[in-house]
């Protein structure tokens, strides 16, 4: 009985679930250790401890931010979070709605693709933050409208191009097959193309969530009375690095939760895709 060869190709070889979990935990531990090392070096060099808050300080900062304000009776972190999420939801919703229609049209109709792709490609290269002033003039300095518009404008071109790409990648045979089964063009789009690209479209949307947060925080930096970006600006003015780090950790957590939620949604609406990927 000879021993099985232990090493095969490194790229793409699968891991045992426990190994995967342990490596994930190791990643977190390494990140924490790296931060602790930064604190250690900073203090060794005689730096101001305000700029290198330890985990105890961060915990205390979290306590401060989740404490109800005596003036208004509300918890700043929660009001900021709800304000930001509400803008983000509207921005993402608008962007996804526009880009789904535009992307699908570009993916399905060659004329729509020829008409829109140069403009959309160019717009995708424009940093939306460069247009903050314009949006403020168009939608008003106060209120959420300009922030919603900035997010929607920021994600739409890339999202539309992504959806168009996915729709165009549907094998031509599948479309011919649908026509040969007596389907009309709307039926081919609604029943043959859309359902099979949904998991990939959700994937593209997942990638757009990160940029959407960037545009939101940028807009809140410029003008806002609440929201996570506003909270960070306040902390910056008072040089509360500990508060900033709490906000950052909170943003990371929210972003990851949205990622997991979208992944779950994908598995829920397209159970066939997850199983197919494992083949």
């Amino acid at each position: 009985m000879s021993a099985a060869p232990r090493f095969r190709s490194i790229i793409g070889s699968p891991l045992a679930p426990t190994t995967r979990l342990l490596l994930g935990v190791l990643g977190v531990v390494l990140t924490v250790a790296a931060y602790e090392y930064y604190i250690y070096r900073h203090e060794l060099a005689g730096g101001n401890p305000r700029f290198s808050p330890g985990f105890g300080q961060l915990w205390a900062a979290l306590g401060e931010l989740t404490e109800a304000s005596p003036r208004t009776g509300s918890v700043p972190l929660w009001t900021d979070t709800w304000a930001s999420l509400w803008i983000l939801a509207r921005g993402l919703g608008t962007g996804v709605a526009i880009s789904a229609a535009l992307g699908l049209a570009m993916g399905v109709l060659s004329t729509a693709h020829a008409l829109c792709s140069p403009v959309v490609t160019a717009l995708a290269k424009v940093p939306p933050t460069a247009l903050i002033a314009l949006f403020m003039v168009m939608f008003g300095v106060t209120g959420d409208a300009f922030k919603v518009a900035l997010i929607a404008f920021g994600i739409t071109p890339t999202l539309a191009l992504g959806i168009a790409l996915v729709a165009r990648a549907v094998p031509r045979n599948t479309i011919v097959k649908a026509y040969s089964l007596g389907a009309s063009t709307p039926t081919v789009i609604v029943r043959a193309i859309v359902p099979q690209i949904i998991p990939q479209v959700i994937e593209v949307i997942r990638l757009a969530v990160g940029p959407a947060w960037i545009y939101l925080i940028a807009a809140e930096y410029v003008s806002s009375s609440e929201g996570i970006g506003h909270g960070i600006v306040l902390a910056q003015r008072m040089v509360r690095i500990d508060h900033i780090l709490v906000y950052v950790a909170w943003l990371a957590l929210l972003g990851s939760a949205m990622d997991v939620a979208l992944h779950g949604l994908s598995r829920l609406v397209a159970p066939w895709a997850a199983a197919r990927r494992e083949d």
Binding site: T174, V176, K177, G182, A183, T187, R191, W272, R276
Partner: protein, 271 residues
């Protein structure tokens, strides 16, 4: 049906594709008439234009010259009178086997736009009938036990059988198959060949099957069409060089088959 225009009629069909610095002629001067209940095996070396001819018949691309008609009507786009089974991507990955087979029935039912509005009502009313009919066709290809699986859960040969049921349920005038065995291993290939022949005999349909495998073509067909280029004229398109009736299901090593095999190899597969 004497006097009715044939199921498929090609007159002077030619096709060319744009290549670097001009055009390449793929098919030339092609005349072809296919009658009911024929199982036409279309063979030729790779790149001779068999799949192009199939796409023209399907209506997936327009010919450069000539006309194609089905029952006298010009072919302008793929429609339900001509079913198709491709080598791959014939099935919808997001639908179960049963839903795949029902696709055509449901799609045809939603054809007039006003039916879109009443679709949920229509579906509850006719869903049962569609389901029963689809199960019957799945039984025809012996897959009734796999109705609720997704295509990726089936083997390649089973997927092709689903694709055949999916096409046949629309009762097309003609069933086109483009290298249906191409992606299969030898065992699956052989059992699918037998399955196709028996389905053809039971349902009495008309089939055009494209393949580059000559033995396969001789086994499944009742009529052999061989497509080849004239090697003497450079730049010429393919034409039909052999067109003759054959006996379906005859073993490959019988003397008459062997003679035909040699002849076809000599004319169409010289390299």
């Amino acid at each position: 049906m004497t006097g009715a225009p044939p199921i498929l009629e090609c007159r002077g069909v030619a096709q060319r594709y744009r290549v670097r610095g001009g055009y390449q002629i793929v098919l030339e001067d092609l005349d072809l008439t296919i009658a009911e209940h024929q199982f036409v095996s279309l063979v030729g070396a790779s790149g001779c234009g068999k799949s192009t001819l199939l796409r023209l018949v399907l209506g997936a691309e327009p010919p450069w010259k000539g006309t194609l008609r089905s029952r006298g009507e010009p072919i302008t786009h793929p429609d339900r009178t001509r079913g198709i089974v491709f080598q791959r991507y014939s099935l919808f990955p997001h639908a179960t086997v049963l839903e795949n087979v029902m696709f055509g029935l449901e799609a045809a039912a939603t054809y007039p736009l006003q039916k879109w509005l009443t679709w949920p009502w229509y579906r509850t009313r006719h869903g049962r009938r569609f389901r029963d009919q689809a199960m019957q066709y799945l039984g025809q290809v012996k897959l009734q036990d796999h109705a609720d699986k997704y295509p990726h859960q089936l083997s390649g040969g089973m997927q092709q059988r689903v694709a055949i049921a999916q096409a046949l349920i629309m009762k097309p005038r003609i069933l086109l198959m483009d290298e249906p065995f191409g992606a299969l291993d030898p065992d699956a290939r052989e059992s699918l060949q037998r399955s196709i022949v028996s389905t053809f005999r039971e349902l009495d349909t008309t089939v055009v099957l494209v393949t580059h495998n000559l033995e396969e073509a001789l086994y499944v067909g009742t009529r052999l069409l061989v497509l080849a280029r004239d090697a003497q004229t450079p730049g010429a398109g393919s034409r039909i060089v052999i067109d003759q009736a054959i006996t379906q299901g005859v073993p490959i090593d019988s003397p008459e088959t062997r003679e035909l095999l040699t002849r076809v190899r000599h004319t169409a597969f010289r390299s």
